[in-house]
Symmetry: C2
Subunit: 356 residues, 2 copies
């Protein structure tokens, strides 16, 4: 059977002060009245149904996230004691699925992206499972809409096939976040796609790659797998996980994997990684502003004013970000939004932990 | 006897969102942990004592202000049903004092200014009462520290005397807020002082001027005076006050008054009229910032970050004002602080009255 694994383990410090230790990015209502996790579940419900949608997250976020997705069986939340990167998180999901369904195919999906064309996205996932059936590790490559330096890229290799109307290519290589010049050249060539972090593969195939490429971690994972369904499970994962090395799936597996394929898709995909990313996602008014919550403004342009109940009043702002939450307010120019994570780092040092 | 009348009737829209309809400027803690009314009472307590300090304000502010000054007898709050400008407010205080003490001298003082040298201020008030004793209407003229265009000026006439070590002059004329060029010339000449809005006079003298220069209002005031101490007082002032024309003491009385004198003082006087004025009053840190309340900042300079309990986080701000209150936040460049009052005006129109 085909299962979806939604990766929901991140914290999203660049979305502070809305994202917090106790309220990670996936739990936030950034786009409309549904949280990022809600969006992630909603868009695949028609394809997988609640029984075959699994969420991987950290213990500390279970309460918040499971409360937001009551439609999913509680057992479908797979919990890590702490984050160990996407590699171990995916490995953990894979052994859970193997136990439940040895013939499982899994789609690794994200909760921190927005997808405008959800119907097309579901078509792509359905087609990808057919490519994965023969043993390929499939990645969804996003047709680039700009020379972004914020994503990794995938260089497409030779054409393998066309499934439904999706072109499938081999993968020549994975490229880390490039500089502007490289990005421009790659997008111009037409041979590159954005690495979306979404993957489709058979569970037996990905575990085979773990065994081959990350043998130490695979040994650790096997201890956890042996304890699955026994009273020792919690104790085992709590013992093993702190010892596991941090690793991303890209570094640890994909770059050295066999039979990697990329399906090129155009699904209105956007990263929701920072406040500035909302400018790509939310409609602006006639002054170029995105305004959420009550606002009173004079001569305010190109700005994101993101509040809830409290009033945000602005005079003479241009290209600024103001985010107002119950106990904190952030004011920062749009072109310095990347430094929000530095503020969060500083909170710990300056005795302002209460706000981190 | 010598009495002090603290004028506390204004609302202070340029200090929004801290100042509100229900929480006027006088009630705010802008400088340290005492409110503006507290500062105004504290600095004259040694000279007048609680019995001879009177506060004039509007009915709607009585609860808040009397709660802040429990040291004053409740009867020492003189209440207007609505604001009618400084002229009628002073007239009302004058008839109350005449009833209580026909030989009273009154010092009309403000609650929306800060005075650094309070000892010198009390000396000036004591000396001024001696000048007022012979029938002069005395104003305190502030030695200008800059060519401000935000105040009215007083042109000093011939020297009348020196009382203690305060020089006393006749007043040649009152000048409204000037343009920059005029202000510069006036300050350079040395013959001008800032009009502080503080006056010292005998109650019989000022009421004589009301009778001569504002006869219609004086007739109205006489109706209120006749009702003083009777059960009809409330009904009378509520009937009369809405009919009284708005007038300032400067326009209505001072510009046409006889025997006006100015005492030139240097007492560390500052207007506290707007957020920008706090830059003259509060110490800045090494980055030129004034920070009240918890703050986390990166590359923030020359800015006022005025909060209380909530965290204000800033990145890359220069010469900005951020004021954070329980239910609203204001963000505005320092050089546009005068437009804060326009925001307040807009609140009514845009259905945001709850925040006005």
């Amino acid at each position: 059977m085909y299962h979806a694994v939604i990766m929901a383990g991140g914290s999203g410090t660049r979305l502070w002060p809305l994202s917090r230790k106790k309220s990670p990015k996936q739990a936030l209502k950034l786009i409309g009245e549904r949280t990022m996790l809600n969006h992630a579940v909603d868009r695949i419900m028609a394809l997988f149904g609640p029984e075959r949608i699994v969420v991987v997250t950290r213990d500390e976020h279970y309460q918040v996230l499971s409360g937001q997705a009551p439609e999913l069986p509680p057992d479908n939340f797979i919990l890590e004691p702490m984050g160990r990167g996407t590699g171990p998180a995916i490995g953990l999901a894979a052994i859970h699925l193997r136990k439940k369904d040895p013939d499982a195919t899994m789609a690794v999906l994200t909760a921190d992206h927005f997808i405008a064309d959800t119907a097309r996205f579901r078509q792509a996932l359905a087609s990808a499972s057919k490519v994965a059936a023969n043993g390929h590790l499939v990645t969804l490559g996003i047709k680039p809409s700009s020379a972004s330096t914020g994503f990794g890229y995938i260089k497409q290799g030779k054409s393998l096939s066309t499934v439904e109307d999706f072109p499938v290519f081999g993968v020549e290589r994975f490229i880390e976040k490039p500089d502007r010049e490289t990005a421009t050249a790659m997008v111009k060539s037409g041979d590159y796609a954005w690495n979306s972090g979404m993957f489709i593969w058979r569970v037996d195939r990905i575990l085979e790659e773990f065994k081959r490429q990350m043998p130490d971690f695979y040994a650790q994972l096997s201890q956890v797998e042996a304890a699955l369904g026994t009273p020792d499970y919690q104790a085992t994962i709590r013992r093993v996980w702190p010892q596991a090395a941090k690793e991303t799936i890209d570094y640890g597996i994909m770059e050295g994997a066999k039979d990697v394929a990329v399906i090129r898709v155009d699904i209105g995909w956007s990263d929701v990684g920072s406040w500035g990313s909302l400018f790509e996602l939310l409609p602006t008014d006639k002054n170029g502003n995105i305004i959420v919550g009550p606002h009173a403004g004079i001569d305010t342009r190109g700005s994101l004013l993101f509040g809830k109940k409290r009033l945000i009043a602005t005079i003479g702002l241009k290209d600024m970000i103001v985010v107002d939450t119950e106990d904190a307010v952030l004011v920062c120019p749009k072109d310095r939004e990347q430094e929000v994570r530095d503020i969060v780092e500083r909170l710990g040092k300056d005795g302002l932990d209460a706000w981190s």
